[in-house]
């Protein structure tokens, strides 16, 4: 077993373990801190897949911004009679059944699909960095690229920022 496989196993174990901690822990602050671990391990998986750019963006946006947002929301919504509590609702058993059934279904479908298993027979390729290619694919005005979706995404962000401010401010 080579080094990359060991790294993959460790990262996958951290990912699944801390994701389970996020959904099962009763203290919501602890759950949010385990969420940081999920995001960090996912960034490691991206590096393993030669996607350094996505890994950096993952650290910046998820482990940085989204976690801070969630922690601030937890801080602002603590009230004395629900302190530290993060209970399951009544449908938890049904939810567990649905999630397990979906997981089994996806894994069964993966084992049945010939096109995917043909591609899966060779290892994920290891080669040089991809940030330049992603930049070309995102911004290039001449060749085939995602300029228009990128601009729409900026518009979505702007609308979300304005919407968050309008929804979240005090009514006067």
């Amino acid at each position: 077993m080579d080094l990359a496989s060991i790294v993959f196993l460790v990262l996958a174990a951290i990912l699944v373990g801390s994701a389970l901690a996020v959904v099962t822990l009763r203290n919501i602050v602890h759950a949010a801190l385990f969420l940081v671990l999920v995001f960090g391990a996912a960034a490691g998986i991206y590096i393993l897949l030669n996607a350094e750019f996505i890994a950096i963006v993952q650290i910046l946006v998820y482990a940085g911004a989204v976690t801070i947002l969630i922690l601030f929301a937890i801080m602002l919504t603590q009230n004395p009679n629900s302190r530290g509590s993060n209970p399951m609702n009544r449908q938890a058993l049904i939810a567990a059944f649905i999630a397990a059934a979906l997981c089994a279904g996806i894994i069964f479908a993966l084992s049945q699909n010939n096109a995917i298993s043909a591609a899966a027979s060779q290892a994920v390729t290891q080669n040089a960095g991809t940030a330049v290619a992603i930049g070309n694919l995102l911004y290039s005005p001449t060749s085939y690229s995602y300029v228009l979706p990128f601009e729409i995404a900026t518009l979505v962000l702007l609308v979300a920022i304005v919407g968050a401010i309008v929804i979240g401010r005090e009514e006067d």
Partner: protein
């Protein structure tokens, strides 16, 4: 082989289902949001794994998976901002973030 496409897809499926369980089974609205974030991460892992596995395919399609992952991260950030603002606004009115108690839009 451990580092093949399938192992990454299975990891993505596992994470997605854990996130789905969290989103379906929690009472606290912020916990529901955390479950959704885990699901989005699982989808990103799947997309990046596909993009790495099919790196030598046709022109332009080479890194599309990673570009889609960038877009998903954008939408997830926007969604988190709006959702948390909504949760705080609801908390200000009802002093609770329990999703089983919030039924203002139900009739």
């Amino acid at each position: 082989m451990l580092l093949s496409l399938n192992s990454f897809l299975v990891l993505g499926a596992l994470l997605f289902c854990i996130g789905l369980f969290g989103a379906l089974s929690k009472r606290n609205a912020i916990s529901v949001l955390m479950g959704i974030e885990i699901m989005l991460n699982a989808v990103n892992i799947t997309l990046v794994a596909f993009s790495s596995a099919f790196q030598h395919s046709a022109h332009g399609a080479r890194l599309s998976g990673q570009v889609f992952a960038v877009f998903i991260i954008t939408v997830a950030a926007a969604e988190a901002a709006v959702a948390l603002a909504t949760i705080i606004a609801i908390y200000r009115r009802k002093s609770s973030v329990d999703v089983t108690e919030i039924n203002m839009m139900k009739w």
